[in-house]
């Protein structure tokens, strides 16, 4: 993995400047999802109580994770699944490869899994001669376009129907001028079906894993995971160790929250439970850490492990909606990406925590009550302390700090009109130059008299300021 710093602001600017179509389309569609989420949440009177409960269950599970993982392993094994442990992406991918090669499988159908994205699994398998086909429509679009998902629930949401028509025309020979969603979906269905039927193994992720039963749950709207899990003889599930829930009865809370938060629907179209292999089949479960236990040890950031990947924080985030998910240059984008990505590579993702206005909407919307906005601010402190920030940014702040520290300097700078104009970007905008403000905005006008001068003139006429006070 390259650790060149991701310039998320520049990437976002490129998405906005691309044309007049993509960014407004992206913003409107995700805002519509947020509106549907509001309506769905409002229809549940105990919504806020559910969030509290979900957050507490996750906190409990994460603080007793070793116990629940062992319980899960024992129960899953008892039901005939084979359980593997993977410390990192490399071990995860190796397990998958070993399972496939020992059975001479060279074609896999998979359902979208963010963990497999994290592990860069598809590229790993393909360079070893194994064909990997995404079964989720959005994810398949991304695969054909050689791009990672830009949103964890709607991976191709940054693309218009026109973009998709173009990609399909190149990849599967459809009419480039026909962007009718019905036509495109049907064309994809026909193309993918053959691959689904021929695949030697099906791969899924998991939304929840239940310690008490050793089963796991996969939620999709297209039913594609179910094809993968039931057509080929071998089912491999990649499960992040944070996906654990203690009991089946906990599930109801999370199922109620997940789809309502994601798309504003009552539940996903398919909520499939897997306990042990099906008759005559094999079930392999890879419990994967890949940085999670390290994250669990970070006092300020471990709450991010509660995430159920609903994407609500992305839909509500005004910055993400304008930036597009690819701008983040990471597996996870949006607010949840900002707090997860630096745990994979602090230097590479050191600019991400600044790509937020700290408006706090993500924290309020999150179904498991992760303090996302506060964590973003805490990440800024980490980046500043570890000196990941560009030097120009640090110097500007040093200067601003000095001005604010000394009232004399501050008021002197402020009242001298010409000096004030020169110092404005530093003490008001804290910036290297006037340009970024001025490109889109007129500069504010300085008042003829400051508030302080007014106060001294009208409210304290008999008390002239002593030199000490200036």
């Amino acid at each position: 993995m390259s650790s060149k710093r991701v310039d998320v602001a520049a990437n976002a600017a490129a998405f906005i400047d691309k044309d007049d179509i993509h960014e407004p389309f992206h913003d409107e569609h995700l805002w519509a999802a947020r509106m549907k989420r509001d309506a769905a949440a409002r229809a549940v009177p105990e919504w806020e109580a559910l969030r509290d409960l979900a957050s507490q269950i996750k906190a409990h599970t994460l603080t007793h994770l070793d116990h629940y993982l062992e319980l899960f392993e024992a129960n899953a094994t008892r039901h005939g699944a084979k359980v593997y442990w993977a410390r990192d992406a490399a071990e995860h991918n190796q397990h998958v490869l070993d399972i496939l090669s020992s059975r001479n499988i060279n074609s896999v159908i998979k359902s979208k899994s963010m963990l497999q994205e994290e592990c860069n699994m598809t590229a790993f398998l393909e360079t070893r001669g194994i064909t990997v086909t995404e079964s989720d429509l959005g994810e398949r679009i991304q695969q054909l376009d050689n791009q990672p998902p830009s949103h964890i629930v709607m991976p191709a949401i940054h693309k218009t129907a026109g973009d998709i028509a173009e990609i399909f025309a190149k990849a599967i020979g459809t009419d480039p001028n026909n962007a009718d969603p019905q036509y495109l979906t049907e064309a994809m269905r026909q193309d993918a079906r053959q691959r689904f039927l021929k695949a030697g193994a099906g791969m899924t992720g998991a939304n929840f894993a239940i310690a008490e039963t050793g089963s796991f749950v996969v939620c999709t709207n297209e039913g594609n995971a179910d094809i993968g899990a039931s057509v080929p003889p071998v089912h491999i599930a990649s499960i992040g160790i944070e996906k654990l829930l203690p009991k089946v009865q906990d599930l109801g809370i999370f199922i109620r929250l997940l789809s309502r938060s994601a798309l504003g629907t009552l539940a996903t179209q398919y909520t499939s439970h897997f306990t042990g292999p099906r008759n005559g089949g094999e079930l392999h479960i890879i419990l994967t850490d890949n940085g999670r236990s390290k994250r669990l040890g970070l006092p300020d950031f471990w709450h991010s492990l509660k995430c159920i990947r609903c994407g609500a924080c992305m839909n509500t985030c005004p910055v993400y909606r304008r930036s597009g998910g690819l701008a983040y240059g990471a597996t996870y984008s949006g607010p949840i990406g900002i707090i997860l990505d630096p745990t994979f590579d602090e230097s590479k993702y050191s600019e991400l925590p600044y790509h937020s206005t700290l408006c706090g909407s993500c924290t309020e919307v999150c179904p498991v009550k992760i303090d996302i906005s506060d964590q973003i601010l805490k990440w800024r402190k980490v980046m500043a302390e570890k000196k990941y920030l560009p030097i120009s940014r640090r110097l500007a702040f040093g200067a601003a700090g000095k001005v604010f520290e000394h009232p004399g300097l501050f008021h002197g700078a402020e009242t001298a009109a010409s000096a004030a104009m020169k110092i404005t970007p530093h003490f008001l905008l804290y910036n290297r130059s006037l340009n970024p403000w001025g490109r889109h905005r007129e500069l504010p006008h300085f008042a003829k008299q400051t508030f302080r001068e007014w106060y001294l003139q009208y409210k304290q006429p008999d008390k002239e300021p002593s030199p000490k006070e200036l």
């Binding site: 409002r42 600044y354 990440w379 980490v382 604010f404 520290e405 009232p407 905008l429 905005r441």
Partner: protein, 247 residues
């Protein structure tokens, strides 16, 4: 009742009329207002950048200026939010805790502490829209955030409804962030400007003539965008409306 007035730097230099209105408004309610002369900044801009070393000095000075007062009132939600919730670059002495606990944003002070029920001197015969800042909504809880499923309340809206003649228009995205975000507005200028422009279009779609806010910093950013785009919207601090000027 004695109140120490906290006037953030940009209000002092660019929007003194918002400070004057705050001062006059508090006096109208019989409050004795003191303005500590050596105040500069609460340290928020540096703290938001993660720069604790530089915010510490500003925070220390703030405490020197404001310690010992029962009430410290500032007409700026994001600065007050910083003092109350993130003022931790310096050791948390008794004086620091006391200052943090006693700092109020103007709207919540009028609403919660003074419990005002009328502004008989205020007339404002315009269609206007309210912009509560994100810090005020989700940080200080002066309004119910639209994401949260609790009962509806909006303290600044409630105060404005007491002003004769004022017609408040509702927006499509009532509490969407305007994109100011402190340093974000320059370091992430493309996204920031787009957010501001979208916000302004929301006002225009609903035919607002004035935008009223308890947080002038968001308005500074929005005003700059509107002016640049040649849009004739007027931006004004809530204190000026409640006080009946100065405009």
């Amino acid at each position: 009742m004695k109140v120490a007035l906290f006037i953030p730097c940009y209000i002092d230099a660019i929007y003194p009329e918002a400070g004057i209105a705050t001062h006059e408004l508090l006096e109208r309610f019989g409050v004795e207002v003191v303005y500590p002369l050596n105040q500069t900044c609460c340290g928020q801009p540096m703290a938001n950048e993660g720069d604790n070393a530089n915010s510490a000095a500003a925070e220390q000075l703030f405490v020197e200026n404001f310690k010992g007062f029962d009430y410290i009132v500032g007409p700026a939600g994001s600065c007050v939010k910083h003092v109350r919730q993130h003022f931790d670059a310096i050791p948390q002495t008794e004086a620091v805790t006391q200052v943090r606990n006693n700092t109020w944003e103007l709207v919540e002070f009028l609403h919660d502490v003074l419990g005002v029920s009328a502004f008989p001197w205020a007339y404002f015969r315009y269609k206007a829209s309210l912009h509560n800042s994100c810090s005020s909504i989700r940080g200080l809880h002066i309004a119910q955030p639209s994401e949260h499923m609790g009962p509806y309340f909006n303290k600044s809206e409630k105060l404005l409804q007491m002003v004769e003649g004022l017609e408040l228009v509702q927006l499509d995205r009532p509490d969407e962030c305007c994109g100011f975000g402190g340093t974000f507005c320059v370091t992430d200028e493309a996204v920031s400007a787009r957010m501001g422009l979208d916000r302004i279009h929301d006002y225009l779609r609903h035919e607002a003539e004035f935008i009223i806010s308890p947080d002038m910093s968001c308005l500074m950013h929005q005003q700059g965008i509107a002016r640049k785009a040649g849009m004739h919207l007027k931006f004004i601090h809530i204190a000026q409306v409640l006080n009946g000027g100065p405009f």
